[in-house]
Symmetry: D2
Subunit: 145 residues, 4 copies
């Protein structure tokens, strides 16, 4: 795996599990949000500051594939990559696993870039620059800063 | 049972359950909020309107006793009573059960009356009047499970 | 709209909302589960009984598109249709709206049919028969928002 | 503060917040569970192993006092102490704060010691020994190992 991956660790709690001892299917979206928040903080673009600058990234689409069950007390790794970087849109792809090579969940979240009054807004140049090195494909030519 | 009880029904989902097939301990607070919302709606005082009138009822204290396990697919009855009605404070007591006479959870929530900028505020007279007939009495306590 | 739609009502609580007063993106999956549970109950195939018969329908994939924000106290309608009915797989499509013609969320969940020890299993004939009349057709798709 | 305190850090996510930008009142119980899990792990008694040894600690009672609002992106400290250590029961007290000296939430959880088939069971001697140094009062004489 290349350098363009952010990794976040997550310890599974009882709060996240359901009957049958596995993570309930919606809780992965909570875990992805936590991973995304840490990712943005690490690249110097915390959501709290973006919001102060009147930039929010509301989710417009999610896709998840469940391939295996995560259990109570598991330590999960969440890999975050940038799947698409466009003028007013950014998408992230995620792989969640307990052991390398054995993905439990694959996911994509698509986000609009908007002002807090919900008008579409161009992604700021410095945010684009910070995200660009996490783009997962060589298709950087797709990107319009 | 007297007239001073509001009853709310709730069907247990997988989302609320955890390992061992019982409701996770925090989810009861979500269920109590739903019951409280329906209670206020029925007495003609929906929270959404109160908030428009600059009145909110933030929770300052909760107490729960877990006496039995609710399971997936159970239909629970949540009984709501007014445990205390003061100038800037109101408390509710709850009993959750699957079958009459067999309480699974007993709870109390205490709420301040405040403006949306978090200043204490006297409970409006019409809200007090609406709540008063649900105030529980020692006699009731003997009657209810 | 044709007869092949199940509708479930849901009142939005504070528990489901986040900063900015709209439903948090993962909570829709909890709402879809509740709608699915009621749907299966109405067609005479409650999940609790299926599980006793060693049949579970684990989610293998979800897709959601968020087109508008649901707010506290909204009453949402969740429409459930059968998007695909295969030998060991069934998919549901959902439309969530506050007012007819204005869809807030579109979703699909894909489920395997399995035994409780997680082996793939053919969908029982009576379950297939019960689900079949909710299979959506191209004609329906044009009809619904 | 003495040595008998375990501290757990928690970063607040959107998933935990509600309308008005503060943590929803039930989510603190999820946070307390995470803190408790880490506490037991640190003292060499992880819940997952206890369960394998047929010991579970179901919650029988909780009490929370909400004194201030935690917000999105706050880093919270959760302090865990042992409030009571009895033959078949243990209670923990918690203080949650953003800044030292300014407690946002105070809480207590009371747990039975039971086998996985829900029969009361004496707390194992090594678990008691591990918990004893976190007892918050000098009332160690109350303790019956």
């Amino acid at each position: 795996m290349g350098p363009n991956v952010f990794r976040h660790l997550h310890r599974v709690t009882y709060a996240e599990c359901t009957v049958g001892n596995h993570i309930y299917y919606s809780r992965y979206l909570d875990i992805l949000e936590a991973a995304r928040g840490e990712f943005f903080r690490q690249i110097g673009q915390p959501f709290a500051r973006l919001q102060q600058e009147d930039i929010i990234l509301p989710v417009t689409e999610v896709r998840l594939r469940y391939k295996g069950a995560a259990r109570y007390d598991d330590v999960l790794t969440v890999e975050v990559r940038v799947a698409e970087l466009a003028r007013v849109r950014v998408a992230f792809s995620y792989a969640i696993f307990r052991e390398p090579g054995s993905v439990l969940v694959e996911a994509v979240t698509v986000h609009a870039c908007a002002s807090t009054d919900d008008k579409l807004k161009r992604l700021p140049a410095d945010l684009c620059a910070a995200l660009r090195r996490f783009v997962e494909t060589p298709a950087d030519e797709r990107v319009t800063g």
